[in-house]
Structures are given as structure tokens and as C-alpha cells.
């Protein structure tokens, strides 16, 4: 039996926020191949290579907790997030969020993909206004001001996003994801590419949020600092899942990076290291 299956979230006190059952997802990777084999001519064709991004994922994420979804690049984290949010349909299996289909609970989910999903040709306020109206937020102006203050964006709300630094874009993307006070907040690498001070601020901020959070990150210390539960996926499969303490005990280690190293092949050592 896989260690992941030893953890039964149904036995825990918190209700289930996300239930993923047998989800598989394939996508085609475009690959350039020479049109004439053996000849070094600048002609090529693009062929599609099938790739199993997710292979029978089963997961039950608990409500009111922060779950860190960890894995290497290309392990299927973002694909899983897209399937969970309903942006993509799985090949097999299904997803339930708060017991319903993702499409039925769109206004209870917030998604933040790094510094993206915001309009660069609008101001920060216009972005928040637009998404706030789509989600039917009441007292929208007050909510925008509140988020501006919480994320230190107040002075920049009327500035066009195209002039924002990357860190400010990340903060705005987070504000956008939270505009409708979602019950489930999905954060895909929220601190990637931002300075350490801002990353620390954001981590403290995320810790205070009163909702269920699914977070992907490559920073193990971030997972250590923030997560209540940990899920590690590799090559489209869940390798382990459980509360942080359970996972640490399961593998008899002290830290999440040690679990990661034990489960996933160690990263290659540089030649001059």
C-alpha cells in the first residue's frame, strides 16, 4: 500500500473541502522534429507527444487548513489546480468542492497564479472592480480599499498595472483572488520571483487568512512555515499526503525537505559543487 493511502482524512475533525477521485489528465506536448531526417535544413514539423500529466489522483483536502502541494517542475501541480478550479476537464475521475462540481461553486473559489490573471492595461482598482462585479461582491469599494490596505497597495490602486513591479503584480493578483472572500483559496507559487522581505510579508498574510488554502510552492521552508497538511506529487501521482506531523513521522525525518528528498529523486549535484 502506498504511504499516501494510510492517511484517511475522513477520520479527521475538519470536513472535506476538495475531493479528487481518480483524476487523470493527458495533454499533448508539441515537439519539433526535422522534416527531412539526416539533413540539417531549417525545415521542421511539430508533432504531438502524449503526456500523462495526472495519473489517477485521489485526494481529500480538509477544510480550514493550509495544504502545501509540493512537487518538481512538471510534476502536475498546476494541472491539478486547473482541474480543481474547473478550468480543465479531467480525462477520467471527478472533482468535488464542498461536495459540489467546481462549476457550481465558482464564486467560492479564488485562484492566484503568481503575478498573472490581471489586466496590465487597466489600473489595479479597475482590475479589482471588474472581478468584484463578476463575483457579485457587495460594498465593492470598501472591499477594494480594505484589500489595498491589507496588501499595502492603497497608493497604487489608480496606477496602470503595466507600470507595476513584479512584487506589486503578485500582491494585486492575490487581492484579485481574494476580492470575493473565497472559502477556498488556491495559490500557485505565490512567492516565486519576489524578494525575501515581501515573501515573508505574504507568508504572514496568508497565515492569517480565514479560509481553506491550497498552496503550491518550490520553497520547502515556505511549506514548513505555512502548511498544516502536505501533499507531494510526482509524475502525476500522489506520493504522500497527510498532516505535516503525520508525514514527518511516516518517514522518520525532521523537515519537509527531507521527506521530499526521500520520496523524489535527489536533485542532480552540479559538477563543480
Amino acid at each position: 500500500m502506498q504511504p499516501a493511502l494510510l492517511f484517511n482524512p475522513m477520520k479527521s475533525a475538519s470536513p472535506i473541502a476538495i475531493e479528487v477521485s481518480g483524476v487523470s489528465f493527458d495533454y499533448e506536448t508539441p515537439i519539433k522534429v526535422p522534416l527531412f531526417k539526416g539533413l540539417r535544413l531549417p525545415f521542421h514539423k511539430v508533432v504531438a507527444q502524449k503526456h500523462n500529466a495526472l495519473q489517477g489522483i485521489d485526494l481529500s483536502l480538509r477544510s480550514g487548513r493550509i495544504t502545501a502541494l509540493l512537487g518538481r517542475n512538471g510534476s502536475g501541480k498546476t494541472t491539478l489546480i486547473k482541474v480543481i478550479t474547473g478550468a480543465r476537464l479531467p480525462k477520467t475521475g471527478n472533482v468535488k468542492i464542498f461536495g459540489l462540481n467546481p462549476n457550481e461553486v465558482r464564486n467560492r473559489i479564488g485562484l492566484c497564479l503568481g503575478g498573472s490573471l490581471i489586466y496590465h492595461r487597466l489600473t489595479a482598482r479597475e482590475n479589482l472592480e471588474y472581478f468584484g462585479k463578476l463575483y457579485g461582491v457587495q460594498k465593492l469599494d470598501a472591499r477594494i480599499d480594505e484589500l489595498g490596505e491589507m496588501l499595502s497597495l492603497t497608493k497604487h490602486l489608480d496606477q496602470l498595472v503595466e507600470s507595476f513591479s513584479f512584487g506589486m503584480k503578485v500582491k494585486l493578483a492575490l487581492a484579485r483572488a481574494m476580492i470575493h472572500s473565497p472559502e477556498l483559496l488556491i495559490l500557485d507559487e505565490p512567492t516565486l520571483g519576489i524578494d525575501i522581505h515581501l515573501a515573508m510579508q505574504l507568508r504572514s498574510f496568508i497565515r492569517t487568512l480565514p479560509c481553506t488554502i491550497l498552496l503550491t510552492t518550490h520553497y520547502m521552508e515556505e511549506a514548513d512555515a505555512l502548511a498544516d497538511d502536505v501533499c507531494i506529487i510526482d509524475k502525476g501521482r500522489v506520493r504522500t499526503y497527510g498532516s505535516k506531523i503525520e508525514v514527518l513521522n511516516r518517514y522518520q525525518v525532521q523537515t519537509i525537505p527531507q521527506v521530499f528528498t526521500k520520496l523524489i529523486d535527489a536533485p542532480p549535484v552540479e559538477a563543480n559543487a
Binding site: Y27, P30, V46, K82, T85, G86, A87, R88, L89, R106, N107, I109, L111, L113, S116, L117, I118, Y119, H120, R121, L122, E126, E129, Y130, F131, K133, L134, Y135, G136, R176
Partner: protein, 266 residues
């Protein structure tokens, strides 16, 4: 106001704000194009009909101004509507905002109406102003003018439906979106916006009669040239059915394709 209205207005306001980020560029590239084409066609017809004294189907030396202006207005608005959704969606693909739209609680139909309000209204208003000018100089009855505006509105709805197909192809099958461009060129050619159907070979007439764009353009042109048309009921019925279908079917195609095949070429 209902949630649906709120969402439609939100999309419309967002569209307007995005369009007018570079206001003069937007105005020049979208609104002046019908007038630009009308001027070119005017010279062509003036040269041909003026020298030969011939008639080209319903087009004569006396009415070609009306015919050309109506044709270019219809074609200009059709082209703008057909490409606006696709252009915006491709931009949203590169800005990565399309995912935010897909997961938000806005339906595709709400999105289309938002687009129509935000991006189509100005085109429509320009079209109506041009039609009103032509109606004034052609001295047609008000009922004919009102019918022409209704037909024009249905034509624009049809074009927005087409645009959604173009947007889906551009997002999911980027390498095949040239097929859409070719089809639009063919539809434009067969719709007889600038020339009467009599100028086309007989074997094409069957295809031409299948196109709602042809029926719309012919109806409007007849209303302005003759003051009435014998095709009013049949053309409006056909156009209404096709326009509604072109809102519903491409919406389903858009939603299903994006979720099934994903956005390609980020």
C-alpha cells in the same frame, strides 16, 4: 439589477477601458475603416457606371452611392465584430487573464453580451449614424429605416457568434485558425456587400443564398434603394433564427473546447 446584468455591464466596462487605453489607435483602426473602403468603392463605381452608363443589377449611376455606403457599413461592422472577440481572447491568452475569466462565475453568453456592449456599441452607433445619413438623403420612410437597423443589429449578433468560433480556434487550435480567416474572406466575398448578386456566376448563387449575411445586406440595400423589399419577412426570419443559433452553439463550442483541449501556445 440582476447578477447577470451586473456581469454583462462589468465585462462591457472592462472592454471599453481596454479598448480606450490607446484611444486614437482604437478609433482609427476600427471606426474609420467602413468610410475608407466606401471612398475606394465610390471611385470604382463612379468610373465604371459614369463612363458606360450601364446598370449592374440593382446598382445604377443614380443609386450606387447608397449601395456602396450601406455595403461598406455592413461589411465594416461585420469584420470588426467577427475579429474583436478573437483578437481580445488571443490578447487575454498572452496576458493569461483568460483563465481568470474561465473560472469566474460569468457565462459565455454573458461574456458575449458584455463584449457587444463594450466593443460593439460604438461600431453599431457609427453604423446607425451612417444609415441615418443615407436614409435622410434617400428620403426613405421611417419604417424602412427602423427595419434596416433591426436587420443590422441581427447581422452584428451573427458576427459576434462567428467571432466566438474564431476565438475558440485561435485559443485551442492556433495552427488552424487560418481556416477561419479564409472562411470569413469567402463569406465576405459571397455576401455581395459591394456588388449585386448578378455579378457572380450562376453556380455560386446557391451558396450565396445560404448566407444570412447576404440576406441582411440585400434587405438593407433594397430598403434604401427602393424604400421597401419583398424579402423582408423571409430575410428577417432566417436572420433571427441563425443569429440566435450563432449565439448558443458557438458558446457551447467555446466552453467545451477550452476545457477539453486547453489553451495552446502560451
Amino acid at each position: 439589477m440582476s447578477r447577470t446584468t451586473d456581469r454583462i455591464l462589468a465585462v462591457a466596462l472592462k472592454e471599453w477601458r481596454l479598448n480606450t487605453r490607446f484611444f486614437w489607435e482604437y478609433l482609427a483602426s476600427n471606426l474609420f475603416s467602413p468610410v475608407k473602403t466606401a471612398i475606394l468603392m465610390y471611385f470604382l463605381y463612379a468610373g465604371f457606371l459614369g463612363q458606360s452608363g450601364l446598370a449592374l443589377g440593382m446598382v445604377t449611376a443614380e443609386n450606387f452611392h447608397t449601395f456602396v455606403l450601406i455595403g461598406t457599413t455592413c461589411h465594416g461592422v461585420i469584420l470588426a465584430s467577427v475579429y474583436i472577440f478573437r483578437t481580445r481572447m488571443v490578447m487575454e491568452k498572452w496576458w493569461e487573464t483568460v483563465t481568470a475569466t474561465l473560472i469566474s462565475p460569468v457565462s459565455t453568453i454573458e461574456m458575449i453580451f458584455g463584449f457587444i456592449l463594450g466593443s460593439g456599441t460604438l461600431h453599431f452607433v457609427v453604423g446607425v449614424v451612417l444609415f441615418a445619413g443615407v436614409a435622410y438623403f434617400s428620403a426613405i420612410p421611417f419604417s424602412a429605416f427602423a427595419l434596416s437597423i433591426l436587420t443590422f443589429a441581427l447581422l452584428a449578433l451573427f458576427a459576434f457568434g462567428l467571432s466566438l468560433i474564431g476565438a475558440t480556434l485561435a485559443l485551442c487550435w492556433e495552427g488552424k485558425s487560418f481556416l477561419f480567416d479564409y472562411s470569413i474572406q469567402l463569406v465576405s466575398f459571397l455576401s455581395c456587400f459591394y456588388y449585386p448578386i448578378e455579378t457572380l456566376p450562376k453556380f455560386l448563387h446557391g451558396f450565396v443564398h445560404l448566407l444570412p449575411t447576404f440576406h441582411a445586406a440585400r434587405l438593407i440595400q433594397e430598403l434604401y434603394v427602393y424604400g421597401s423589399s419583398t424579402h423582408t419577412v423571409s430575410a428577417l426570419t432566417y436572420l433571427s433564427i441563425v443569429s440566435v443559433l450563432m449565439l448558443v452553439l458557438p458558446s457551447l463550442f467555446f466552453e467545451r473546447s477550452l476545457k477539453r483541449y486547453g489553451i495552446v501556445g502560451y
